[in-house]
Symmetry: C2
Subunit: 219 residues, 2 copies
DNA sequence: AAAAATATTTAGGTTTGTCTAAATATTTTT
DNA sequence: AAAAATATTTAGACAAACCTAAATATTTTT
């Protein structure tokens, strides 16, 4: 199926909002992300509904159909592959590529995307660390970063502990860190490479390099 | 200046028609190449005129202004660079890339084009042999092909005669071939590698391989 | 549970780029 | 040079995607 640029932008943004807000997407949220007045959003929601891309009833929350979801993922796939291309092949900086990829993602050829992906070596993550779905729409497993590698202030979810011996578990219990905890690195101290972190709603705490190196998380 | 996709397509097509028909471009010709009814073409001509991209007066022939010309060349430049990319990097066949390049040429970032060109090694000709203008809009010298290499039915202009001895000149005079003649190869005979050509408005004629090899032309 | 605030939709417009049909110019033929 | 043919423009519509203002639903507050 082929879509207009506008339809594609709506699909993509609905998808992102769904992921971020647990399927509960409202017209006003969408209105903000697509930078368009609510009344216009309503028009488009009806259009997407008529095309069976969206489950939608007036005044209710809405969400993508299976077809809509698949279409959104294809657009996101293109966006991220182009970002990868722009940064890794054309040597743009990672913060310069978003706008350009916003245009490139609407180029329609499927064959182009397949060949581009192949040329790039089937990358799994784009330069911002976002996963690149494969041609079947499957997202790769989230990349895991140790706390040593996690960028400052980047919120993350603890997903894996490498050294699982009791001594390590004691420390984790002490700081109340567990799989699923949300945390961010606030500061790194050069002297001993210790790092200050904030876990969930607790006050900030400082952990050693050895501990940090064993905690992995996903962004 | 930024243009809509539609404006860009008109600019590009006017440019091509101008080159092919010596500045004498008519609305009906354009109507054919942009695949749009004449009435719609008129609308766009007025719009381009108002934007000072086109010299235009009702019922008269029209031609691009300097600004319009420059814009058209920039679009053509993008088209040809992308074609080069598609064929030489993504390994498409040369006859598969036109449509895709028609979309890519409208991606607006100037920086993208510059980096793409650099990545590709500043190519001078696209996979179809068409010249790629540089970032200042200058076309490289046309690639010259001998009649032996000229694709069947490809219209070309005679630009150079390698062997300029009298015997050769006699032959050329006989066939009324001179620098600037328009010709195309109609047929190649396997037996003696002679080729049938059509020069200007004359009836078809057949020339030997030796003669063909000495006539160079540009597409 | 009523009032107030907020969210969403409807109604009626606008712009861009297209269309058809009719009017008008220009060019070609006789 | 008049008639016929062809090319171009004008007039009036339409779809897509947006807008504002007003009407209507829903949610939150009191």
């Amino acid at each position: 199926m082929k879509f207009t640029t506008s339809e594609e932008n709506y699909l993509k943004n609905i998808y992102h909002l769904q992921v971020m807000h647990d399927k509960k997407v409202s017209a006003s949220m969408l209105s903000e992300t697509v930078n368009t007045r609510a009344a216009s959003v309503t028009d488009m929601l009806k259009k997407l509904h008529k095309k069976k891309l969206l489950h939608y009833e007036p005044y209710k929350h809405f969400h993508l159909t299976e077809t809509g979801n698949r279409a959104a993922i294809e657009i996101i796939r293109k966006h991220r592959l182009w970002e990868f291309f722009l940064v890794n092949i054309l040597k743009f900086k990672w913060d310069e590529v978003h706008e350009i990829a916003e245009e490139l993602e609407h180029v329609s050829s499927t064959e182009l995307v397949i060949r581009l992906e192949q040329f790039l070596g089937f990358p799994s993550f784009d330069p911002h660390g976002d996963p690149i779905p494969n041609s079947k729409g499957k997202m790769p497993e989230q990349e895991q970063l140790s706390l040593e590698a996690l960028p400052l202030k980047q919120a993350a979810t603890v997903s894996y502990i490498r050294d699982q011996r009791i001594a390590m578990m004691d420390i984790l219990a002490h700081y109340q860190i567990k799989i699923g905890s949300r945390l961010k690195v606030i500061r790194r101290f050069d002297f001993d490479e210790s790092i200050e972190i904030k876990v969930d709603k607790q006050p900030a705490a400082t952990i050693s390099k050895q501990v940090a190196a064993n905690i992995y998380c996903t962004i």
